[in-house]
Point group: C2
Chain length 250, copies 2
């Protein structure tokens, strides 16, 4: 028995998120179906990150166990033949049989894209959040600085979750502009439910002048969701990659 | 009576091209419907460029005549409220009543995007042509150089057209790379049917070593469609903008 780790890219537009939900189209359901058909075994993957409906990925991670004799690196191309075009496995490697993608320490990087111009661009509508009012990049960058480090991010967590420990570490949080797209890039030890979208929504409030950058400290310390900005819409968010310190048995 | 010029961006994925076709979804049909509803007049636009099914635009141009008292610049935002999200008018200005977008001299710029990596990326599938084998950028750039200037581009024109005069001028044709996207950018006085997609298909053949760059001269001189490469698929193509020397009456 081997455990295989997949890196998976997908366009979340047409899916009700990653996680299996009976009767609904999900990325996990597509992956399970394609792997089961390819390998002739009943496969159920364990995903690293349960992205929400409409959220995209460049490098989500999932593992599964198999008896197959197909070389691990070749599973990637073979399974892509059985997947719809909006899901593409980027790599497949063998990992230790006890490697669990939600239990091993990792760094996750997300990007949140904001299309900031007067009029929307159709080709960006599924992959960015359109904001027509002008945003102060300097203010957003200063606010981002306050959020880096180890903090209790309870104010940046959806009240719809039951999680007790809301302390996380953000290693980097940057705001840059490429033509009329503002890209918020954040790397952390893990993220609370909706955390990146609430950070993005809060930085947008800062950008339009509704919240001063230096209020970030009080928002963090208040540990109250109502202090932060709104949850920015899902289509701007992409899970870029998940770095595990050790995952390859080779 | 005023003539209004629109710059229009659209995602061509779900349309059977620009031009009206009874019973089929086209960009022109959507624009006519939205303008007619907004202005309370029966509007039929004249388009500058009849893009094909699946081809995108950042700045196609269309004009129409109206009796409206809405200020020309405001039509843009008002009509967008009545358009689907995959079409967005970028600007609206008044032009001379005899301005015809296909008869006035202009420079059109197209971009053709090639996703060049081992495995496709789902979020690029509708906006690029995926090529998994490696492409020689230098060879493509040298080949592009031969195509610049005033030439008979009959070899780069679909045989499905009846056009007699196949002489055109290409002002610039560049090939650049941004991460794993190769972008072919071409500006010309006008383009024959499928010309940009045949240029792209030919440059891809050059990139993979099937045609030497210096063969471009013989391909041009041969005036025979079968000498050039295949027509690259539509989703990689975007009409970026159309520059008219004079169009604004102000």
């Amino acid at each position: 028995m081997k455990r295989i780790k997949l890196e998976i890219a997908y366009d979340g537009t047409d899916y009700c998120g990653w996680q299996l939900q009976p009767g609904l189209p999900t990325v996990e359901a597509q992956i399970n179906k394609a792997l089961s058909a390819l390998l002739g075994e009943e496969i159920t993957v364990i995903g690293a990150s349960r992205t929400d409906s409409g959220v995209h990925a460049r490098g989500n991670v999932a593992v599964f166990d198999t008896e197959t004799r197909i070389p691990p690196q070749k599973i990637c191309l073979a399974v892509n033949q059985r997947l719809p075009e909006d899901i593409r496995v980027q790599s497949s490697i063998e990992v230790a049989t006890d490697f669990h993608p939600r239990k091993v320490k990792c760094r996750k990087t997300y990007e949140y894209r904001i299309l900031n111009r007067n009029i929307a661009l159709p080709m960006e509508r599924l992959y960015s959040n359109f904001v027509y009012y002008s945003l102060d990049m300097g203010a957003m960058q200063r606010a981002a600085g306050y959020l880096v480090g180890e903090h209790d991010y309870k104010s940046f967590c959806s009240v719809k979750t039951q999680v007790k420990d809301t302390i996380r570490t953000i290693y980097q949080l940057s705001v840059r502009k490429e033509e009329d797209i503002i890209i918020i890039s954040v790397t952390g030890s893990g993220f609370l439910y909706n955390m990146v979208r609430i950070i993005a929504g809060t930085l947008i409030e800062v950008g339009r002048g509704a919240i001063p950058p230096e209020h970030m400290t009080a928002i963090l310390q208040g540990c109250d969701r109502s202090l932060a900005g709104p949850t920015a819409p899902p289509q701007g968010l992409t899970l870029m990659n998940i770095d595990y310190i050790t995952d390859n048995i080779e």
